[in-house]
């Protein structure tokens, strides 16, 4: 009986111990409840939709407030300056749901975004200057478009890339673009179509990709390309038009982090031909003899295969290109499209035209030492032995790139001629 009682009290003690422990665990979780460290309501965030970066004259340094540094002390960074523009969504201005669109039809007068600009030495410096004037905390989770002015891009965007890579909020699927003229203007633009200007920029780029006007080139992909040893990055090059819309003016190609040149819009198509990228979206004139006998074709599908071998101690590339075309329009009735041999001839002419544009693009990039096609990557991947002995680094490939030879073998086929029979 005694033993049993002892067992019982032992049991009680243990049970007591357990409930005490549970209580301690509960109590220790109370401090947790007091802290919502990272809770920040969506409407308290300054949702940054777009950023523009311009290079400015260091003489404007006086205009900058001393927020991250003290002028004249050793904390002053010095160097070139930038002007950072941000587009912040104004909550409440953008109506909820599709029904109440535009707030009784005066959409353009009532801005849905707020554009601010600040100077600074670095991106972070500029952002801190901006944060000092803002109530909401800057939030980059929805940053979709980063616009860089051409002048800054030519100086190099290493600092911008570093900041964006390091920031955990940023998405790799944002668009980065280089603009002719001031980048801030793009932030300030107010296109009619979209309620939020930046989203218009973004959808311009996204649909350009869908229509085959530009290769997919999110900022993350640009970074990947730029850091590869045998390849250079490129960005879309845009210009603002007078209707506050933007035009895709070409590709800005880089050498490391510095922009070295820009292509013409049609050369985007040429680039996509060389890389065999689909969908194909560009139209081209094909002339059969005199100007009256001109037709317009558009590519429906492209394929390309790049082979590399070493000739005379230098890499040589054979690029086999195959494009399928449709005939879309002809200039006059002088030409009757009723024979397949004619289509074959159109294809031949197209091959010729393509070849010259392809070669000129290659030549252009060679002069800039900017291998946006990633020929170097082919050498690295296919000829690792050669790469190890002759190239090894990005700089070496930049040196070697102008000396490589490329042969193009282009095949074009016209498949369809539309609904008209002749």
């Amino acid at each position: 009986m005694g033993a049993r009682e002892a067992g019982g009290s032992d049991l009680n003690a243990r049970a007591w111990c357990k409930s005490a422990l549970a209580l301690i665990a509960l109590l220790s979780s109370v401090p947790l409840l007091t802290g919502c460290w990272d809770r920040l309501e969506i409407e308290d965030r300054a949702v940054v939709l777009g950023i523009s970066v311009d290079a400015i004259d260091p003489s404007e340094a006086e205009k900058e407030d001393e927020i991250t540094h003290l002028r004249g002390s050793y904390l002053e960074p010095g160097g070139s300056m930038i002007r950072l523009g941000v587009q912040i969504a104004v909550p409440g201005r953008i109506p909820l749901g599709p029904g109440e669109g535009g707030g009784s039809g005066q959409g353009s007068s009532k801005r849905t975004v707020w554009v601010m600009d600040v100077p600074g030495y670095t991106i972070d410096d500029a952002l801190m200057n901006l944060q000092q004037q803002l109530s909401g905390q800057l939030f980059f989770g929805h940053l979709r478009v980063i616009v860089v002015s051409e002048s800054l891009a030519r100086k190099g965007i290493q600092n911008l890339n570093d900041y964006l890579r390091r920031n955990s909020q940023l998405r790799r699927m944002a668009w980065m673009m280089v603009t002719k003229g001031k980048a801030l203007d793009l932030m300030k633009s107010a296109p009619e179509l979209e309620r939020v200007p930046t989203l218009y920029l973004m959808s311009t780029m996204d649909s350009a990709v869908r229509m085959g006007k530009f290769p997919t080139n999110y900022v993350g992909m640009y970074w990947s390309r730029a850091s590869k040893k045998g390849q250079e990055g490129f960005l879309p090059y845009v210009e603002m038009k007078k209707e506050q819309n933007i035009e895709l003016k070409g590709m800005a190609y880089f050498k490391k982090d510095r922009m070295v040149g820009v292509t013409k819009p049609f050369e985007i198509a040429t680039y996509m031909v060389i890389k065999g990228l689909n969908p194909a979206g560009y139209r081209a004139f094909v002339r059969l003899g005199n100007p009256e006998r001109t037709v317009m074709v558009y590519a429906t599908s492209r394929k390309s295969k790049i082979n590399v071998d070493i000739r005379n101690g230098l890499p040589h590339f054979d690029v086999n290109i195959f494009t399928e075309l449709n005939l879309e329009e002809k200039v006059s009735n002088e030409l009757t499209v009723n024979r397949s041999s004619l289509l074959r001839e159109v294809g031949k002419q197209n091959e010729k035209a393509l070849l010259s544009s392809v070669e000129s693009l290659i030549e252009q990039t060679k002069q800039a030492h900017s291998d946006i096609f990633g020929f170097g990557e082919y050498v690295r991947a296919m000829k690792p032995g050669y790469w190890r002995t002759h190239v090894k680094s990005k700089e070496a490939w930049q040196e070697m790139y102008p000396r490589i030879t490329v042969d193009f073998h282009i095949h074009s086929r016209i498949r369809r001629i539309g609904m008209k029979a002749r």
């Binding site: 049970a15 909820l96 989770g141 939020v196």
Partner: protein, 547 residues
């Protein structure tokens, strides 16, 4: 949560000797046999029950000579039956004894075999049993000079008619539901299971209520250990009253501190039968229209009878929808809070900007907003149950539409919050089992709080805690998430989708049933054979021509 699981040992059962039996005076006469003297029986029974105004003690003379007394509670018996089958039969001697009186020595036998016109009569000599018989609604006839009394089952309790089950309605399937009377309920089961394997064992539980508890199972199907364990657990229950099967449920379940029900209840006899056939044990209590089914696993809570009566493809889709609703009701509000307050980058930019607009005028953080709305929703729901039916419908419309709309208009809540709360609430009603839905609905509150502290990370931590708790739960030794964990492929055919009936030809393996098969192989073969085209038009072409 596992934290609280180990506290079971706290409440040690008091040794039986300590507790005073409720009817001390009744216990005094227990095991006291009748002596055969009528006055003594009258004294004892009258002493115990005579204070009641509905107690009737009627004297009579059997066959006109032997003095006797009949005791009963006037409101619990079928009075007409007593008049015709008992009184009349006893007062007049049967024809064969009209001429010469029955010998006194054989009187006991003559009354039982020749006189009483009633099917359920038994002889009792223990005084306490007699009293209990009267309490139960039986009529007790004590005859002078006989050392046993006749206990005639004249019980007649008014009962409501068998109705459609209110909480488990189906479109396709039987419409009968249990009622309060145990006997009727057992008959509903018996007529569905006409096999001699059906066993119904009963016991009486509750010191004062003496409620009859029936344990039903299928011999040969159910695992004998399970029956033994159910018996053991039930016999340990020594409580004052068993007013509903819910009282028993709380004593026989495995983990008393878990929010999740570990015993399923149902008011559908067909569901009970289906579960008996799977190898479960049903427990029914007199006075409760809800049968308990053990052991229970989690997937039973989102299955309905209809899943098996309708076509399997459709019902699989519907079951999937039900599962989605279940998940909705648990995590939707917390996901909303964590996305709005912590990770707005997850939702599309256009939507995020719009949500920010919708929330712009709301003074509270999302977590407070959601909690307030959730609590008021629970209040509304509770109010709807309490209100009389005629008002209830109106109130719920007023509540949901007007209050929701007004809250948005007043800038008290953002429209998206209202959408989220509405979806959550509706989702929780799509779960067939009310108690399981309730558990998940309550658990979403801690989840919302976790979301308010840590965002998605907190939601995940909360979910892991819940899942770990579910994984450690057991119902009569069966892991609660069976057959998902521990993996059993056969069982998974009935887990998320419902496979055709002939694919599920085995009983659930986690119940360790005796007889394993429920579909004969020949049937499986037959189903898979091509069907016979009796009325194929090609066959009748010849006929038509001839005509």
């Amino acid at each position: 949560m596992p934290l609280f699981r180990r506290r079971r040992s706290l409440k040690k059962k008091a040794p039986p000797s300590n507790a005073a039996p409720p009817d001390r005076r009744l216990e005094e006469v227990r095991h006291t046999d009748m002596s055969g003297r009528l006055e003594e029986v009258v004294r004892v029974i009258n002493g115990l029950l005579g204070d009641n105004d509905d107690f009737v003690m009627r004297e009579l003379r059997i066959f006109g000579r032997h003095p006797a007394v009949i005791f009963y509670y006037s409101n619990m018996v079928d009075q007409a039956g007593i008049n015709s089958d008992v009184l009349k039969a006893l007062m007049y001697p049967p024809p064969q004894f009209r001429e010469e009186a029955a010998p006194r020595g054989r009187l006991k036998e003559v009354i039982l075999c020749d006189a009483l016109h009633h099917t359920e009569v038994k002889l009792e000599s223990d005084l306490a049993s007699l009293v209990e018989g009267v309490l139960r609604g039986q009529a007790v006839i004590a005859v002078d000079g006989i050392d046993e009394a006749y206990v005639v089952n004249t019980r007649s309790i008014l009962k409501r008619s068998i109705d459609t089950p209110a909480t488990e309605q189906v479109i396709r399937g039987p419409r009968e539901g249990f009622i309060e009377l145990l006997g009727t309920n057992l008959s509903l089961i018996r007529y569905r299971l006409q096999t001699c394997d059906l066993r119904i064992k009963s016991m009486e539980l509750g010191r004062r209520t003496q409620s009859k508890v029936a344990i039903c199972y299928l011999e040969g199907v159910v695992s004998p250990d399970l029956v033994k364990e159910v018996n053991r657990r039930l016999s340990q229950v020594d409580i004052d009253a068993v007013l509903d099967s819910g009282y028993l449920e709380q004593y026989i379940e495995d983990n008393h501190y878990s929010p999740f029900p570990q015993v399923q209840y149902t008011e559908r006899p067909d569901k009970v039968v289906a579960n008996l056939l799977e190898g479960r044990v049903a427990i029914m209590v007199d006075g409760s229209p809800l049968a308990l089914l053990v052991p229970t696993v989690f997937n039973q809570f989102y299955q309905t009878v209809e899943d098996y009566t309708e076509r399997f493809l459709l019902m699989s889709a519907i079951r999937l929808a039900r599962l989605v609703a279940l998940v909705f009701s648990l995590i939707f509000p917390s996901l909303y809070v964590s996305i709005i307050s912590f990770n707005p980058e997850l939702i599309p930019t256009e939507f995020a900007v719009a949500v920010a607009g919708g929330r712009a005028g709301v003074p509270f953080p999302a977590i407070v907003e959601v909690l307030v709305m959730e609590v008021s929703m629970e209040v509304l729901r509770e109010a709807t149950i309490r209100l009389p039916q005629q008002v209830g419908g109106a109130l719920s419309i007023v509540g949901v539409l007007v209050v929701g709309q007004a809250a948005v208009a007043a800038g008290f809540a953002s429209p998206i919050t209202v959408v989220i709360i509405a979806l959550t609430t509706i989702g929780s009603f799509a779960t067939p089992a009310y108690n399981a839905a309730l558990a998940l609905r309550l658990l979403r509150f801690p989840l919302v709080i976790m979301a308010g502290i840590f965002g998605l990370y907190g939601v995940m931590i909360g979910l892991i805690l819940i899942a770990n708790h579910l994984l450690s739960l057991k119902s009569f030794g069966v892991p609660y998430l069976s057959p998902l964990v521990p993996g059993n492929f056969q069982g998974m055919k009935d887990l998320i989708a419902r496979a055709p009936l002939w694919w599920m030809w085995r009983r659930p393996s986690f119940l360790f049933t005796g007889d394993k098969h429920r579909v004969d192989e020949s049937t499986i073969d037959y189903v898979q054979k091509p069907s016979n085209d009796v009325l194929d038009p090609l066959k009748f072409k010849e006929d038509r021509k001839e005509r």
